[in-house]
């Protein structure tokens, strides 16, 4: 159902030309240039390194978890790995990755031609690097949610660097939000709101989420630091503080935080799907409504993260349940829109061959797998039984983070590869990566759901040798290895193809129904 504005709403027609940006840049331009292409490439490369580090940590502690009892790590190194895995994956890999994709795509799609406020994006990047270094030095073991007073009493002498890292992450994300907001706003001003490409709506939603929530995270970081220095006693009940203050402040950031990688990933999906199909998205306004609702709900559903605590009772508890359940409305609007777009006309053969398109389909699949079970997560009665802090919760957010957002990040990376290197990646290796990941992620998520259903606790280095726990844990470790293997294939493919891959065509993703495409064929056409 196309409307007159649809062509414009898809963004500018591709003036994208494959070029060897990576081959032609110097180290200096990569590190300090404010050119949006260099900032984006730097963000993506760093995120891939972070993904590798975070993944390596996961492989290490999954090896420990494969069988009951403690084999390789004591509790402290295990928890250090667990904590850094969470922080690297969320703050270091997935949020910067999808934001970097937006940095690269926005100037082209929104027609601004350059990234406005690129200096802020530069600062955002370097503050995050400092935060990562702080975390590696401090090696905290208090999980990424660092609940006081536990987190104030563990971690050794350098743990304050961990609190400062939280503050730096907050500032870094605030700056990134300002950049996205600025660019989305500029495009809306130029094109008018009704013709703003969906990437612009995504950027504005993301900007509101980032700039609204990160100041509170910054305050949490500061108070944790001053509490630890014994200057204040905000969160320490032993000295008159209040743990619930922390809960409400932290999760006011913590819930928007899980939408921070979601919004740009959805924006990338709305940008790429029409390009592969060669037709506009099914309903523009349904997507706009969904973006807006998700932004508003993102700020008010956060008490569901600590629902079985005694302070979330009565009307607050019921309101939290209803609002949390209401998240299904924007999510359904998004997914319905994508499926309706796919169904409306034949899917070109070129799309079926394209690796990014495959990753997009997998991402939609996992968004449903992770989203529908939230029906159970949101309900107080089930949350007070087998959901809260069992593996059911990690199952839900791994389906979202890995299944949806990481798959979308990969879709973006494969899509942009010819524009960054001037060459195509190897199709067979990319397919291998795709299937390793999808089989691995599906097994992992399903097994985690099952383990949660049988009350397997989060954050444990050791567990009882119960039949219903030990076998799924072993298989889960296998699934993690498969995902790790897929990542290695991905890295080898990208490094090898950067110099030896087939030269990309003028339009590597041309829509066509030929049996063999000019763009993404498996046969080298050189």
């Amino acid at each position: 159902m196309a409307s007159a504005h649809d062509a414009q709403r898809m963004g500018e027609t591709p003036t994208w030309v494959p070029e060897d940006i990576i081959g032609n840049m110097t180290l200096k331009s990569l590190l300090f240039s404010n050119d949006y292409r260099h900032i984006a490439i730097k963000g993506i490369l760093t995120s891939i390194v972070m993904l590798g580090l975070g993944g390596l940590m996961a492989i290490l502690f999954r090896t420990e978890l494969a069988v009951p009892d403690v084999q390789f790590f004591g509790a402290r190194p295990y928890m250090q790995l667990m904590t850094l895995h969470g922080m690297f994956m969320v703050f270091g890999f997935i949020i910067p990755f999808v934001i970097a994709l937006n940095y690269y795509m926005m100037p082209k799609v929104l027609g601004t031609g350059r990234l406005l406020w690129a200096g802020a994006a530069q600062w955002s990047y370097w503050l995050l690097i400092i935060a990562a270094v702080f975390l590696i030095i401090a090696r905290p073991d208090f999980t990424w949610t660092f609940y006081p007073p536990m987190s104030l009493r563990v971690g050794g002498d350098l743990v304050y660097l961990g609190y400062l890292a939280v503050l730096l992450v907050a500032i870094s994300e605030f700056l990134a939000g300002a950049v996205l907001m600025r660019n989305g706003w500029e495009a809306a001003r130029r094109l008018s709101w009704s013709k703003l490409p969906l990437m612009g709506w995504g950027a504005i939603s993301e900007g509101i989420l980032l700039m609204g929530s990160t100041p509170i995270l910054g305050l949490v970081g500061i108070y944790m630091f001053t509490d630890w220095m014994q200057i204040t006693a905000m969160f320490d009940p032993a000295r008159g503080g209040e743990v619930m203050t922390f809960m409400f402040m932290f999760w006011f950031y913590g819930h928007p935080a899980v939408y921070l990688p979601l919004m740009p990933a959805i924006a990338v999906l709305y940008t790429l799907l029409p390009r592969f199909l060669g037709r506009p998205i099914w309903s523009y306004w349904s997507a706009v409504i969904a973006f807006s609702m998700l932004t508003v709900l993102g700020f008010i559903v956060y008490p569901h993260h600590f629902q079985p605590a005694e302070n979330v009772v009565g009307p607050l508890q019921r309101a939290t349940q209803i609002l949390t359940l209401a998240i299904f409305i924007p999510s359904t609007l998004h997914v319905f829109n994508w499926i309706a777009t796919l169904w409306s006309d034949p899917i070109p053969k070129s799309a079926r061959r394209a690796i990014p398109f495959k990753f997009i389909i997998a991402a939609i699949f996992f968004l449903m797998l992770g989203g529908v079970t939230a029906y159970v997560n949101a309900q107080i009665a089930t949350d007070s039984d087998f959901v809260h802090n069992t593996y059911f919760v990690p199952a839900h957010f791994h389906a979202m983070f890995v299944g949806f957002m990481a798959n979308m990040a990969m879709a973006g990376a494969y899509y942009l590869y010819p524009y960054f290197t001037g060459r195509m990646f190897n199709q067979a290796l990319a397919n291998t990566h795709f299937w390793f990941w999808q089989i691995g992620i599906f097994s992992k998520v399903t097994l985690m759901y099952y383990l949660g259903y049988v009350y397997f606790p989060r954050w444990v280095v050791d567990y009882l040798p119960l039949d219903q726990w030990a076998m799924p844990q072993m298989m889960l470790t296998g699934a993690a290895y498969l995902i790790g293997l897929g990542f290695i294939v991905f890295v080898i493919n990208f490094m090898w193809s950067a110099t030896r891959g087939r030269k990309a065509d003028t339009d590597p993703w041309a829509v066509s129904d030929d049996a063999v495409s000019s763009g993404a064929s498996a046969q080298p056409a050189e």
């Binding site: 309903s283 796919l342 389909i361 529908v372 009665a381 089930t382 009350y455």
Partner: protein, 196 residues
Amino acid sequence: MESALGLSGYQATMMIIVFVVLGAGISALFLALFLPARWRLKYWMEIAFVGLLIGVVWYGDKRSAEVYGAYQEEMSNAGILDEPAIDGAEGFDRELKVIAFQWGFAFLTDENEISRNAAVVKPGERVLFRIFSNDVIHGFNIPAAGITAEFDPGKERDVWIRAPQEPGKYLIQCLNYCGIGHAQMKAWLVVEGAEA
């Protein structure tokens, strides 16, 4: 397995709904990808579909509130949710004070007998746990009884269960990360033989 929250029927219903909706979504995705027939959906279909799901969500909210409300009512009838809480609440067969600490649980009976790692109860009893933490945030979960609570230091938290009918040892575990001993923070719910 009879749980205090009365979950069995309600929970099964919710899981069936999840599987049905998920199945419908995944089928739609695969049909859109592989079915030769193409279908241009109308806008009202999206509104109708969201309306249908609003019904499903309304039902989930209603059932959850009923089930959890009934569970809480047992405690509010006994007066233990009042401030200040009544000691020795009527309506429960057994009352145990639980002290959660880094890292373990201690159980204190009416007669001030203390046990470091076992809550001893009779089959099918209604047991009230009045839980305190003296250091950090802990969790209290009994899988066999289907109940989880999270509680802050310095405040009392009450939960109650129906003890399993089968005599035996049932796991009690902390579900909230509370420091490096978290994985060891376990105790046992011991259900004695049914002679009494």
